[in-house]
Symmetry: C2
Subunit: 224 residues, 2 copies
């Protein structure tokens, strides 16, 4: 989703394709939290045997997106409100580090970010919400990657994927989408000034809306 799982040039292995495909199924709500995954079914769907499927599931288990119980099988990880809050806590902690580490950006880099951000608006026509989500992810991670802290960004990537099945829909209605794009613009402005502290603050606020939505959706007191 952030470009880390495009392994071009060489034809990917079955395991890699299985991982990508399962991730896609998660994004498209074809698989939902708590849902049991049948190895044989998945294998048939992917046109491979159970062996690569099981390795793919092990990868996703280690990422925290699947859960496994011996002799019972794999299921999409189900996070309760508290666990979800922890994922967002980790996101905040790590994203803050990355944003603080951003160097003064060049004009080209700032323009590139702007292009990516405005692309979110252009996805309006696109009824496919996946496109909007992807564009949003692309913007955020393009920014994160500029820090040069690759391992940290990889970790953040994992955290995003982990909460993906729970991400609410404030990107869907045009008002929410407009707000998102507007907040992104403010970040770009702060970046242009080289004011990383402001970017961190803006990102915290930006993230907070999602967290509030999540708590609302899960019917929990806001700051539990």
């Amino acid at each position: 989703m952030t470009g880390t799982d495009v392994e071009p040039a060489r034809r990917a292995t079955s395991v890699q394709r299985a991982v990508s495909e399962i991730r896609r199924m998660l994004r498209s709500r074809e698989l939902v939290p708590g849902q049991q995954v049948r190895q044989e079914t998945l294998a048939a769907r992917l046109g491979v045997s159970r062996i690569p499927v099981r390795e793919a599931l092990k990868t996703l288990e280690a990422e925290g997106v699947m859960r496994h119980e011996p002799h019972v099988g794999y299921a999409v990880a189900r996070l309760n409100a508290d666990e979800l809050a922890q994922v967002y806590l980790m996101r905040r902690a790590l994203e803050t580090e990355v944003l603080r580490a951003l160097p003064r950006l060049t004009g080209d880099q700032l323009r590139h970010l702007t292009t990516l951000n405005e692309a979110i608006t252009e996805q309006v026509e696109n009824v496919d919400v996946a496109g909007i989500v992807a564009a949003n992810v692309a913007f955020h991670f393009a920014m994160f990657r500029l820090s040069g802290l690759d391992l940290v960004v990889d970790e953040i990537d994992r955290l995003w994927r982990r909460s993906e099945p729970y991400r609410t829909v404030h990107l869907y209605d045009s008002a929410g989408r407009a707000r998102v794009v507007r907040e992104h613009r403010k970040m770009i402005t702060a970046l242009r000034r080289g004011d990383n502290a402001a970017v961190v603050a803006l990102m915290d606020a930006h993230r907070e809306v999602t967290v509030a939505d999540l708590h609302a959706a899960l019917g929990l007191p806001p700051h539990a």
Copy 2:
């Protein structure tokens, strides 16, 4: 290493045992960074076939401990100074969150931590350095776990394991060990006061010694 991979009661699966065994081999320097791992060899050593071994390796790959290249195989991940610094950056960020979230501890909890800490000293007799390292890990994670932030602590666990093959040996000589235990005592004192900010500061300093050691060992400028 922190109790997360002891899955008692039911007999563990071959994959679980393979993961544990490989982790043990990493701790004991039987496997070192950069070293190639031969599937067949490992399988024979564990008395299983290649399939569970490959699943175990996939798990460790997702954890960042192993690297995999298609058609070449698995090798123990080799981190350069910069990557190692990133791992420690993440540790600092997440451990800080966990320590800040610690509740006021009960007398029992404080006594338990003290016991674990003093156990590090008692390991002096033990020529087996693994025992010392394990005792140190036990102390730190007992403390972390008291936060109740299980997912975050799991993540910290992963980060510890990731840097494990590189951890330097300041626990080995009795002077270093004494310093470690002394610093732990200070943390316990601060915890008794409920002064979490002080604990964070102490932990930062504590960790900084290791980072400095690592940079020295890798022949790098201290704050590169």
